[in-house]
């Protein structure tokens, strides 16, 4: 594995399966009375969040703490960033504090990539602009693998990939870093990915992505094993991408009638936070097919696996 995790494209199929297998074992410790491992004792993980986040930041914090790392939380609000400090100067400050890993969320695409040039520790991308969110893709893949019974089974060893599964990602692809990371990772793991969105919410050059594209949700549902609903990111929309929220919801929202068109064992995913009643109906979000809560729980195990694999061993070249 690379020293950093910046894009889902950094992960080979072998790397990705390694993360998922490791997460399978780590998930088991959440059932124990003592949910802590001494592995990263004495190492420092900095959570550097330039953008609001609840679940990702808490999830990384919980993951680092369960591995006994020291966690420093740094949010742009109330820090010297609010006074105009540049990313580089912030990075140098962190470097001086001896951060072994920096988990960064930033509203600018490419910020983690720049940061990786300035710090010695590992950089983990926790979402950069509309670019990527690789740990979300990993936890989604982990959730799919578990629900379809392909995780590493009774004996220790390798679980399977996602070959042959059909994953449909629906909604605001344009503003979604989750979509891009998922397309890349799910393709690496052998799934067939289909994007469904209004043409206005598809990014430029989406035709170069390793997936197919369509505009008709109803036609896609009966052929889907997994439906991943994306949040309509109203905070990033400064232009009219669709006529009205209600029309979007009618054509691209997942309600109970649409859910009924899914094959029997299909699952419904959402990276959260959900706009209930817009892209997903409340009845669907709370149905047994929905994995929304599982995704959050799995996020901790997957991020533990990433931290362990990046920080747990020797540094390369030592």
């Amino acid at each position: 594995m690379n020293r950093h995790l910046i894009s889902a494209a950094d992960l080979s199929r072998e790397d990705a399966l390694r993360v998922l297998d490791t997460a399978d074992e780590l998930a088991r410790i959440s059932d124990r009375p003592i949910k802590k491992l001494p592995t990263l004792r004495g190492r420092t993980v900095v959570n550097l969040f330039f953008e609001d986040s609840t679940r990702t930041r808490i999830s990384f914090e919980a993951a680092a703490k369960r591995l006994s790392a020291d966690v420093i939380n740094f949010s742009a609000k109330g820090s010297s960033v609010a006074k105009g400090e540049s990313l580089k100067d912030t990075a140098l400050t962190l470097e001086a504090m001896g951060a072994d890993a920096v988990v960064i969320r930033h509203n600018a695409s490419g910020a983690p990539h720049r940061l990786a040039e300035w710090v010695h520790g590992s950089v983990i991308n926790a979402g950069d602009g509309a670019h990527e969110h690789p740990t979300q893709a990993l936890l989604d893949a982990f959730t799919i693998r578990r629900r379809f019974g392909r995780s590493s089974g009774s004996g220790a060893g390798q679980g399977g990939a996602l070959d042959g599964l059909r994953v449909t990602i629906v909604g605001d692809i344009l503003h979604s870093r989750v979509a891009r990371s998922n397309v890349l990772l799910l393709h690496t793991l052998g799934a067939e990915v289909l994007l469904i969105a209004p043409p206005t919410l598809l990014p430029v050059a989406v035709d170069t992505w390793p997936c197919s594209i369509d505009y008709d949700l109803d036609a896609a549902l009966p052929k889907s094993d997994v439906v991943m609903m994306l949040r309509v990111q109203q905070e990033r929309m400064n232009a009219a991408y669709f006529p009205s929220v209600r029309e979007y919801s009618r054509r691209y929202g997942l309600d109970s009638d649409r859910m009924a068109q899914l094959p029997e064992r299909a699952i419904v995913m959402h990276p959260g936070p959900m706009n209930r009643g817009v892209e997903i109906a409340a009845g669907v979000a709370d149905s047994p097919r929905s994995t929304v809560v599982e995704q959050v729980a799995n996020g901790v195990s997957v991020r533990m696996a990433v931290l362990y694999l990046l920080l747990g061993g020797a540094e390369e070249g030592q």
Binding site: R32, P33, L37, A314
Partner: protein, 208 residues
């Protein structure tokens, strides 16, 4: 990653899940029948020392401690007629040499559903060498509960302890030099039963 050794021959080795078919180079020091006799004897010793093995849980350390624990459990059951809970205890996250090598794959920890509180836990491993694996196992146990006692069973004790640790049950004491490699092959993992003693620098080579 640099592939780790197939059996527990190095100090602090023995936690690797990736079971690579080891080469057959080296002198055979225990054959199939001898391994079987040693395990039968250990099973009897466990019964005797724990007064009937009523409270015993056998925990194997991956990779090769796990099938050994299962075999001992079967052996005890044959004599006493009662099933003995057995499982596995992965020690990877508790090792003291994690930062000397790239991050390794994890093994499986599987503890019987009743837990280990108040029980006599017998740790089972293939080779006892530096004692560092056992130290890590004691730390790992600590996070799982509070057993009444912890004992240690090994198929081969090759000496060269680096910590104050001693086994309670030994299949064979095998005097070795530091540079020699002890390899345990088990049918469940390697397709055959044998214990081999080889010199360093043969086909598999020491990873250090």
């Amino acid at each position: 990653m640099a592939h780790a050794q197939p059996a527990s021959e190095g100090p602090g080795a023995g936690g690797d899940v990736t079971a690579h078919p080891p080469s057959r180079d080296g002198k055979i020091v225990l054959e199939r029948a001898e391994i079987s006799r040693a395990l039968t004897r250990i099973a009897h010793e466990i019964i005797e020392r724990t007064r009937g093995a009523q409270q015993v849980i056998l925990l194997g350390i991956p990779t090769r401690g796990v099938p050994l624990a299962a075999r001992l459990a079967a052996g005890i059951q044959q004599v006493e007629g009662l099933p003995v809970p057995h499982g596995s205890l992965d020690i990877t996250m508790y090792r003291d040499d994690l930062r000397l090598r790239p991050a390794r794959a994890l093994g499986r920890t599987q503890v019987p559903p009743d837990g280990i509180d108040g029980k006599i836990v017998v740790l089972v491993d293939d080779v006892l060498y530096s004692g560092r694996t056992v130290r890590a196992a004691l730390d790992a146990l600590n996070d799982l509960g509070r057993p009444r006692a912890v004992q240690l069973a090994v198929l081969v004790d090759r000496g060269h302890r680096e910590l104050p640790i001693r086994p309670d049950y030994v299949g064979k004491n095998l005097p070795t030099a530091h540079h020699e490699i002890v390899r345990v092959l088990l049918t469940e993992v390697d397709g055959e039963d044998a214990v081999l003693l080889g010199a360093a620098g043969d086909a598999t080579g020491m990873p250090r």
